[in-house]
Structure formats: C-alpha cells, structure tokens
C-alpha cells in the first residue's frame, strides 16, 4: 500500500500517534499524566542482554546492530508520515529465529522467563511476576487487522531486528487496530515477542520513581475471549505480566505499541 493514498500520519512532539479516522474509544487529547521515564537505550547493553537472556543477536556485533537500527530510523525519518515517531521513545529489539507453532507457550516458556531474568539481573531487589497462573497455552492468537502476523512469519525465517514504539497512548485496543490500518504498511501493532524482547533489552522501560508509567498492552495479540487482553505493567518498582478485561474501552493509563521491522 502506498502512503501517498493515506492522510499524513500525525505524531506529536512527544511521538504520540494522534488518532485519525478512529471511531473506537480513544482520547483525542492527552494531559500526559502517565508517562514513560527516561530509560537508557544503549545498543551495546541491549545487545548483551538480548544475547544473555533470549539467545538473540549472538552473531551480531554492536556496530552491525547499531547500523541496522539506524537504517530503520532513517527509513522512518525519510517519510513525513512516520518521521514524528522518532520524537518519542524507540526501543531496539531482536527476536531470534523461531518457527512459531503456539504463541502462548512460547511466551510462557521462553520470553517471559527472559524478561524476568533481565529485569531481576538489572534490579536484584525487585521482582518480575507473571500473574497469569492458569497459563498461556492456546490463549494467544494474532489480532486480525493488527499486521502482527508479519513478525510471526518473519521470525520463522530469520532473526528479526526492529524498533518498538510505545506511541499509541490512551487508545482502546479496537482504536489501536483501527489506527494501524491508516498508518504506512510497514508499521505493525506490537504483540508478545517484540514487546517482551524490548523489555529484555531495556528492563527499566516502565520504571519510574517520580510518577506513574503506563500499562503496555500486547495489542497485536487477541486473548482467549473477546474483550480480554494481556499486558506488561509496573507495580511500584516491580514489573508484572497480567491479563484483564479491556472491553474495548479506553483509559489514560492504557497504551499500545507499534513495531517497525527492518527490511532486508
């Protein structure tokens, strides 16, 4: 799809994707009460953590990783429809090559433990808690319209380098799906593997001491029932993974992410 046929995407000076042509619940304006802190986005540290905890990027050196990230940034910067994304936080990630047969099991057995190891290594006094005690097996599928299937397909073929943007702030999940349809074709709603990989690389993504950070939904994935979603959320200085009813509603506290994958 050509971006020439689309209205220019509007990202504000903070990188928030402004809702255009969205009918589902969304906050048209934000008072920016819930915010991310200023986590260090250091490619060397990210690459080291991804290798240590997720087995990703092991054949990459920092310069190559940085070049590949910069290439994604350059592509976004070159398009007026996406340049504003770079006003906000962008978290580089690598998802290792893995044929995905079952999303929930892979999240539960591979990615969430990796997030836990990275978080508790960085913050030994704090905890990562997966509150979903009844398991994830068979409960997560790609959300129709999210474009997230492209990551699942790509990671079956090769290791995937990308950037995670928590920029759909104060959108309901249906609004995020609507919004992604109006954005350039190479942007997809973030789901489980990309968001978790972002947390492995930047474990303090939701750490804030002077105020409250947002909750980050895995909007590229649908839960086992309509209206149920899965998310990462801070609790004090701790990090949690949980599920809850969203029922298509919006909240200042609820954000979704967009992933941009490199094209090779």
């Amino acid at each position: 799809m050509s971006t020439a046929t689309l209205a220019p995407a509007a990202f504000d000076e903070f990188g928030r994707c402004l809702p255009t042509a969205v009918q589902s619940p969304v906050h048209r304006q934000s008072r920016r009460y819930f915010r991310l802190g200023t986590p260090a986005v250091d490619p060397a540290a990210i690459l080291a953590r991804l290798g240590r905890h997720l087995g990703a990027g092991k054949g990459l050196d920092v310069n190559s990783f940085t070049r590949r990230i910069d290439a994604i940034r350059a592509r976004l910067a070159a398009d007026p429809a996406t340049a504003g994304m770079l006003n906000g936080l962008a978290v580089p990630f690598i998802v290792p090559r893995t044929p995905v047969t079952e999303i929930g099991t892979l999240m539960e057995e591979g990615y969430l433990p990796a997030v836990a190891r990275s978080f508790e290594e960085a913050f030994p006094a704090e905890r990562f808690t997966n509150h979903v005690k009844l398991g994830l097996a068979g409960k997560l599928t790609v959300q129709p319209g999210s474009r997230h299937e492209r990551l699942i397909e790509a990671m079956g073929d090769d290791e995937v380098v990308g950037l995670y943007f928590p920029c759909l702030t104060e959108y309901s999940l249906p609004a995020a799906v609507e919004q992604i349809a109006s954005l350039p074709d190479h942007l997809l709603l973030a789901g489980g593997f990309d968001t978790a990989a972002a947390f492995v690389g930047v474990p303090d993504l939701l750490l804030r001491t002077d105020g409250y950070p947002p909750l980050l939904w895995l909007t590229g994935l649908a839960g086992e029932k309509p209206g149920i979603g899965y998310h990462f959320e801070a609790y004090g200085h701790d990090l949690t993974f949980n599920r809850r009813a969203h029922l298509g509603q919006t909240a200042e506290y609820w954000w979704s992410g967009i992933s941009v994958l490199e094209t090779r």
Partner: protein, 371 residues
Amino acid sequence: MTATLTADPGLTASEAAKRNDLASRKPHVAAKLARVAEMEERGEISPIIRLEKSYLCNFQCTHCSAEYYMDRHLEKVFKIKDERQKIDLDDIRRLSKEADELGLARFVITGGEPLVMKDFDAVVEAIDPDRHYVITDTNGWFLDLERARHLKAIGVEKVQLSLDSMIEAEHDKFRNKPGSYKRVMRAIDASLEAGLNLILSTVLVRGRGKSDEFRQMCEFAKSKGIGLYVSYAKPTGSCTDHPEFVIDKEDADVVRELEKSYPVFTHMTPSYGSFKGCITVKGIITVTSTAEITPCPYIDFSLGNLRQNSLKEILDRGMRNPWLGPHRPDCLIGEDPQFIKIHTERTKGATHLPLPWGKGFSDNDSLQDEK
C-alpha cells in the same frame, strides 16, 4: 443457593479455609464473592459499600476524613444544623436488596464510630448478614471481648481496627484520645478471641513509610497473623488543614516494597492477580448519612442520591465518568494533583457535603478541563 467449596490453587491455605468456612455458614454470600472475578471479566463491578449512617464519634482524630460531615463541625464552624433527610433502616433494607440484585456482596459499617451507634444491631439486621458480608470499622474504644462476641453473634464477619502508631503516645495524640492505644490492643485480642476476621487499619502520612515505627507496625501485624491495611492520607476532611500529610509516589512505593515481606496492603494492592488500581466505584462506594453516594471515602462529590436514583443508575454514572471509571494505578484523590485541585476548589467553603450530582461530578466532566 449452594456455594461451591473453593479449591483455587492460587489461594493460601488460610484464605481457602476462611472462604470454605463462610461457604458453609453463608452460602449466598460466599457464592456472590466467588463470582466477583467473573463479573470483572464481563465488565461488571462489585464495589464494597461503605455505609455512613451516623457520624457520631467519641474521638476527634487529626486526620479524620468524615469530620466535615459531622454535626459538631457544622455547628462549630458554620453555626448551622444539617436539616437534610437522613437515611433510615428502610433505606438500608432497600439498598441491601438493590445491591444483592446487582451481585454486590460486601458492606462496611463506618462513620463516625460505628460502635457508639445505638441502632448498630438494627443496621446489621437491615443489611442482612445472610445476604451480605458485613464488616465494621472501629476505633476499638468499646470493643471488649463481650462486644466482640456479640458482633460475631449478630453476623458481623470482620472488624477493621484503626491503629495509627506503634508508639502509644503518638497514637493517642493523633487520635486526641488518651488511653486509645491500650483500647486498640485490647480490641485486637478480643476480636481474635471471638473468632472475628480482623485487619488493622492505619493512615500513611508523608514519610511515615520509611520510619522505624511503621516497620514495627508491619512486624506487629505479621506476628499477630493479621493484615495491615494502609490508607493514604488524603487532602480532604481534617487533612485539608494538613497538606504536609499527603503522600507522594515514593511513599506509595515504600509500601509496595513492604508488601513483599509483610501482610501489608492498600486499597490498590493486587489481590490474587486482580489489580484494580484505584478502586473508585469499581471497588468501593460510600453511602453518606444523607443517602448520597460518593465514589470513595475521600471524594466529597456525590454521584447521586439513593432516594432519587437507583443504585445501578448511580454506579453507571460513576463508571462513565472519565476520572472514576477507567483503570488507573494511582490514588485519584491522594495522588493526582489536577483532580486534587478541582476537588479542593469545588468543596472550598461548602457547608453541606458531599456536593450533589451536578455540582461536583457531572456527565460533562473531562480530563482536559481546569488543568
């Protein structure tokens, strides 16, 4: 109705035992409580109903959120009497029925000091302990073993006992009542002896979380095997004159850290994986002595009056309000400066609280107003 005995693997053994005991004695109540998680998944709510039938109190605490509702305050400060119609037992019976029909399951009798109410037993009966889980707040002054056994006998399940410092002189000073600390200690033993569920309730003022005294209170609760409920000081009621009491995020995070080691919790602590965050409307409502319903004990804006609106209509108003309905992790009236400013400005000089629907909250509320 029969209640299924609980076998949830996520429950602690003691919690499972408590729930099974309740199911054997009060199956209707236990069944409703067991359905709360299902209701939440459907987007339905099951708030605890705090019932402030009377504000009569034998204490005059430094941090009291109800002081501005009390006759003594109106008479002393404004030289007026509150002529508004007060709730009676028929109102409570009707509320109990409406709440039951909506699946709500919990009442907290509060005040004022509930145990000075002459009609306390009649209020419990009007709520109906076979229909709802009944809790009472108390400062403990009148809670000896005989009274504790009586509460249990009339159907009260749980007592929330206020303790504001492990240092006797500090507690008594905060509560402006010499001897009150000793009465709390007596009440703890009496409640446990009588087989009442018991939690301690304490107010967190700024900086207290890091104090040795607070750590001692956490240790004390742990040693007694009872929960310690921590209420943040909010800029309302008597605390309006003490802005220095209001906590910040660091204080809240200190308590969150202590939750890892002690049976300490706030209204926003995740419970068995359910993380409501701020519980306004979603987890609690307050019914004032004039039948107004407010979304939490510390917000003096009404969502409607039970004599004029159904409980369901009032809850729906709350849930569609942009401040109250959406999920948020922080305390609206304790931590959000924009809302605190709105609340302070609108209630300033008001003689009769809460402000009625339309004067405080309304369907025109917006997060964008009055930054």
